[in-house]
């Protein structure tokens, strides 16, 4: 294995730098009301080209969506769920990336927390007193 030396400092870039593992993956996602929606399980990028070869001058891929979904099993046993099982939160809905990822939209309209909504409406609401607002 060959390691290239010496390392050159990265030329300055105009925008904010985000390392996927450090700043995005596994971060909690809050909606515009500060309500937790989900966590970032993976990222979807725009396709870099039509094939594996990348011609010189090809524009860099951009993040198109944050992905979430049923990944517990694949985290333990390896692999990842099929792309069709992953739920997408479009990058254009992201308002800020910090300790948490904040969205600029309401979580009520997102598919990401449908399980929670389903449990609330179908199970919790049918328990006596379950439909009362606890606040």
């Amino acid at each position: 294995m060959k390691t290239p030396r010496p390392l050159v400092p990265v030329p300055p870039v105009a925008g904010r730098t985000l390392d996927a593992q450090l700043h995005l993956l596994d971060r909690q996602v809050l909606d515009n009301d500060g309500v937790p929606v989900t966590t970032v399980d993976d990222l979807e990028l725009s396709p870099p080209g039509s094939g594996p070869e990348i011609p010189e001058g090809t524009p860099a891929p951009v993040i198109t969506a944050l992905l979430t979904g049923p990944i517990l099993g694949t985290r333990i046993f390896g692999g990842r769920p099929p792309s069709s099982r992953l739920i997408r939160i479009p990058w254009k809905d992201v308002a800020d990336v910090g300790v948490v990822v904040r969205l600029g939209v309401s979580g009520q309209n997102l598919d990401a927390d449908w399980v929670e909504r389903w449990i609330r409406d179908k199970i919790i609401a049918r328990i006596p007193g379950g439909s009362r607002d606890p606040r």
């Binding site: 294995m1 060959k2 390691t3 985000l18 593992q21 594996p52 860099a60 800020d96 600029g104």
Partner: protein
């Protein structure tokens, strides 16, 4: 393209010499914001010759506490480098190939987690 498929992928240079694995992907948010945040374009990939897992990014910042974790993790990721998108020739199912004469950049971030 899903990023999780790229992380951990072996990286080779133009001669087929193995350089390491993709440890991370660096993005820069520098587009024109359509509404809330600008597009985050892929700036490059962080390649680590020993381990593709990264723990809190100690190898990319200057933190020295808590002893001895930073030194240990820096040693584990010694030889890591950042390769820019322009130097990536091929992203296949099981490997990434770099262009001939690619430049290896320092993967270091500053204290604020920025370059």
């Amino acid at each position: 393209m899903i990023l999780g498929d790229l992380l951990g992928t072996p990286v080779f240079d133009d001669d087929g010499v193995r350089l390491g694995r993709v440890a991370d992907a660096r993005f820069v948010v520098d587009g024109v914001p359509p509404q809330l945040m600008a597009d985050a374009r892929l700036l490059g990939l962080v390649v680590s010759p020993h381990s593709w897992s990264s723990f809190l990014g100690y190898e990319r910042n200057s933190l020295t506490q808590p002893w001895p974790l930073p030194a240990l993790l820096r040693w584990r990721h010694s030889g890591s480098f950042l390769v820019m998108w322009a130097d990536i020739a091929m992203i296949g199912d099981g490997s990434v190939r770099l262009r001939r004469g690619y430049t290896a950049y320092s993967p270091a971030l500053d204290g604020d987690g920025q370059e």
